[in-house]
């Protein structure tokens, strides 16, 4: 039996981007469905859960139950095991995303959105090249056709909705980080410090991380570049890392996932459609961080969408306002992060070792990422040619 519904907007995916967009739409009085294929929002999340506190506070008022741990320092490990410690100018936290994501979705519902769980988007209703709605499959496999003038594709790294509207968001192998992570317990008292491990034998084309969650627990994971995958899987690299670096810990749970490390989609919209978050490849290509760009894009898309619906203009011209807003806010710097990523993944282990050595020889003192980068640059001047666009007067294209 097929049911038909009619709403103003459907948001596919109830992660941070989708929930934020649905909240903005509902706040402006729009009738919106927020759908997610999972049985529960925030379960599972494929995420190391680290995020900058200040960045997060631009979008939400922090709740203590969202925070698993407060971070006071960062340590970077070179391939040979030497490490440098960064003094924190930006505070970081490790989130409990199960609670965080759940609360964001609840916020959307409280604003008036209708949350449909165990609901899968199986296709787009198109009319003359314009998105007119979405085909859904409910918890018992029942088919629901939802007419909606606007669809927001917030369906994550595995995104389909944008493709169905003709936007090719396929990731090149060099533009995906393939990740695996254990939640580990039984650890020696874990300091309030995020650790990053680099090295071709550790995590080729990426890095391993240890992010504290509690006094004796941590997210321990790594990402490898898609173009270094094949010989060994991400999980195989992770098991080797855990055995070497955290041998006494207990593996309590496991999650795998992909992280886009491409440029964000140049055109994250189509008639009647907006694409946000990981689905729009809006994660930071250098760090892999996706929470903040998801929140930013969700806000921008929700606001542009509400305006477009009120004006009854869902054309490309109308929705292009979203793309321009994104380009003005995070877009430019995220294009730069991509170029940095492309340069940094090419740094050989010897350069990273020499960088750590030079920084340690200088002694402690205010060490930040900029000083680390400048030291790496001195060790490998060719790096400047790779990232020359960063130094153009207008800040690059």
């Amino acid at each position: 039996m097929i049911t038909s519904r009619q709403v103003d907007a459907v948001v596919v995916g109830a992660g941070p981007a989708g929930s934020m967009a649905a909240t903005k739409l509902a706040e402006r009085g729009m009738k919106v469905f927020l759908v997610d294929k999972r049985s529960r929002v925030g379960v599972p999340v494929r995420c190391a859960e680290g995020v900058g506190k200040l960045g997060l506070m631009k979008y939400v008022t922090l709740r203590p139950q969202w925070i698993s741990a407060e971070i006071e320092s960062v340590r970077l490990y070179a391939p040979n095991g030497d490490h440098v410690q960064l003094s924190q100018n930006t505070q970081g936290v490790i989130l409990d995303r199960m609670v965080f994501d759940g609360d964001l979705a609840t916020g959307a519902v409280e604003a008036g959105a209708e949350l449909l769980l165990q609901t899968y988007a199986s296709g787009l209703l198109m009319d003359r090249g314009c998105v007119q709605g979405v085909y859904l499959q409910g918890p018992s496999g029942e088919k629901i056709t939802v007419g909606a003038k606007l669809i927001i594709a917030a369906d994550g790294v595995e995104s389909r909705v944008a493709r169905w509207a003709g936007i090719d968001s396929t990731l090149a192998m060099k533009d995906v980080e393939v990740c695996a992570q254990y939640f580990m317990g039984g650890l020696e008292p874990v300091p309030p410090r995020c650790e990053f491990y680099f090295g071709h034998h550790v995590a080729p084309g990426g890095y391993a991380w240890i992010f504290p969650k509690g006094p004796n627990t941590a997210n321990v994971g790594l990402g490898i570049s898609g173009n270094h995958a094949g010989r060994r899987s991400a999980k195989e690299y992770l098991d080797a890392f855990v055995e070497r670096v955290v041998p006494g810990g207990e593996k309590r749970s496991f999650v795998a996932g992909g992280v886009p490390v491409s440029r964000p989609l140049k055109k994250a919209y189509a008639p009647g459609l907006l694409v946000v978050g990981d689905a729009a490849r809006q994660s930071n290509a250098l760090s892999g961080g996706g929470i903040i760009p998801a929140l930013e894009a969700g806000c921008l898309a929700g606001e542009v969408a509400a305006q477009a619906l009120a004006e009854e203009d869902l054309s490309e011209r109308s929705l292009s306002r979203y793309q321009r807003a994104w380009n003005r806010s995070l877009g430019r710097s995220y294009a730069r992060y991509y170029r940095l990523k492309e340069a940094v993944v090419r740094l050989p282990d010897e350069t990273l070792n020499a960088t750590a050595r030079a920084l340690r020889a200088k002694g402690s003192g205010q060490l930040n990422l900029f000083r680390v980068f400048m030291t790496a640059l001195r060790k490998r001047p060719g790096l400047i040619l790779d990232i020359r666009h960063l130094f153009l007067p207008q800040g690059g294209s």
Binding site: Y120, V157, M173, V176, A234, G258
Partner: protein, 57 residues
Amino acid sequence: MIIFRQDLCDHCGTCLSVCPQDAIVLYEREIYLVEERCDGCQRCLIVCPVRAVEVQR
């Protein structure tokens, strides 16, 4: 012929993100190949973080 190991798959969707043919369907806990769309490029097999993709001749 691409085979997905349902017992090993973590349903992370990384394979979908690199598939140029939109040949993979992923539900919350099930994954399927759309055989007629697959051109055998094996990107899914190469990236899979848990080796849940195999090729059978």
